[in-house]
């Protein structure tokens, strides 16, 4: 019974900590390096970004076109629709060194890019 009580209290504390982490995560996000990319004429500008290995970064994608685009990457496991003339935030990493391609799903012929992790 005592063991159960201790286990219950530990779980309760853990879930409280987890809840605090989730609630505070926007504050933690504020300290992450920010990388900006534009979408112009269905192209990513710049089309290559270099980020440090094992670091989480905040990617800000600004869609300067009037039409929507979907940022997609199989290698990064990321997908997000970005409406025309608006911006979106996508967190990527921490990643091991390598090259991670991404593309615009709505215009895959032109909207191609790479995240180079060094």
């Amino acid at each position: 019974m005592r063991l159960l009580k201790i286990w219950g209290e530990t779980c309760c504390k853990r879930s409280t900590y987890a809840l605090i982490v989730v609630l505070l995560s926007p504050l933690v996000q504020a300290g992450k390096p920010v990388v900006e990319i534009n979408i112009e004429q269905h192209l990513f500008v710049p089309s290559e970004i270099t980020i440090p290995a094992n670091t989480k970064i905040k990617l800000r994608v600004h869609n300067r076109d009037a039409t929507p685009e979907e940022f997609e990457s199989w290698e990064l496991n990321r997908e997000k629709v970005i409406m025309g003339n608006s911006s979106a935030t996508i967190f990527i990493g921490p990643l091991p060194p390598g090259i991670y391609p991404f593309f615009g799903e709505f215009n895959p012929k032109t909207a191609q890019g790479k995240v180079i992790v060094e």
Partner: protein, 269 residues
């Protein structure tokens, strides 16, 4: 443009088409009717229109992470509806067709949510080329081909499931619902990682050289079992955990409805 439209529409329609096929195959021995399909598809399209129309506002919520939160919420809701469906399909199988209204409602609700999620993306894609006369025709033709291929996969899948007898058909359908539900939870967790609400981790394995995610088998498996070529340990744990919950619901429902059927049989010999 043509190929892009085919791929986008096919990817989005596949999940709903396979869900329709699974639900129709599981209930084909009972007089449920198909009116729920009509209502569910039309309300799903209306919901998708509203979602697509409001996506800009939704995306800007919570410091620009509204897209991830709303989509993850939809996926978790679909998982919840699938849990209810598992219980109700077992009830239908064990107790027969006494009151099908809850089953019909939740089948329609699951499909409606799935259409809202996938359909809104198709509508947003359409909005990008609707005003451009150069790309309009190839976009529409590509979308029709994509939709045709998607629904053909659904029809093929339905006939495949229909080849099984009653109990095996139900077992396969339940198994698929369990995996579709787990896929929803896994996708929701990935979106929460993208929004930094859950920690991102290195992949547990990499099967992209065997079954690449963009390939047709990869997309079919994605729609059916939530296939990911490079899942993180947390994603795999959430996937396994959701399967465990679904199986627990199935076992509890089976025991409960079996007992109540036996009780009825003993009181009315």
């Amino acid at each position: 443009m043509l190929l892009t439209s085919v791929i986008i529409v096919l990817r989005e329609i596949l999940e709903a088409a396979l869900l329709i096929a699974t639900l129709l195959a599981a209930t084909r021995f009972y007089s449920i009717g198909h009116s729920w399909l009509r209502i569910s598809i039309s309300s799903g399209i209306v919901g998708a229109l509203i979602f697509a129309w409001q996506l800009r506002t939704i995306s800007n919520l919570y410091e620009g992470l509204g897209y991830e939160i709303s989509n993850a919420a939809l996926q978790v809701l679909i998982y919840g509806v699938i849990l209810v469906l598992i219980a109700l399909l077992l009830k239908l199988y064990l107790c027969g067709t006494t009151n099908n209204k809850p089953l019909v409602f939740f089948m329609g609700f699951a499909l409606c949510l799935s259409i809202i999620r996938e359909g809104s993306e198709i509508l947003i894609y359409f909005s990008g080329f609707m005003h451009n006369t150069e790309t309009l025709s190839s976009g529409i033709i590509g979308s029709v081909i994509g939709a045709g291929v998607g629904f053909s996969f659904g029809a093929l899948f339905y006939f495949l499931l229909s080849a099984f007898h009653k109990s095996l058909s139900l077992m396969v359908a339940l198994g698929l619902l369990v995996l579709v539900g787990a896929g929803m939870c896994s996708q929701a967790s990935m979106l929460l990682m993208q929004a930094d609400f859950l920690p991102s981790q290195r992949p547990l394995w990499n099967t992209s050289s065997w079954i690449p995610e963009p390939s047709i088998p990869g997309q079919l498996l994605y729609a059916l079992i939530g296939y990911e070529a490079t899942p993180s340990p947390l994603q795999v744990s959430i996937y396994a955990g959701s399967i465990f919950i679904s199986l627990t619901v199935a076992v509890i429902s089976y025991t409960f409805y079996r007992r109540s059927t036996n009780k009825k049989a003993s009181t009315h010999p």
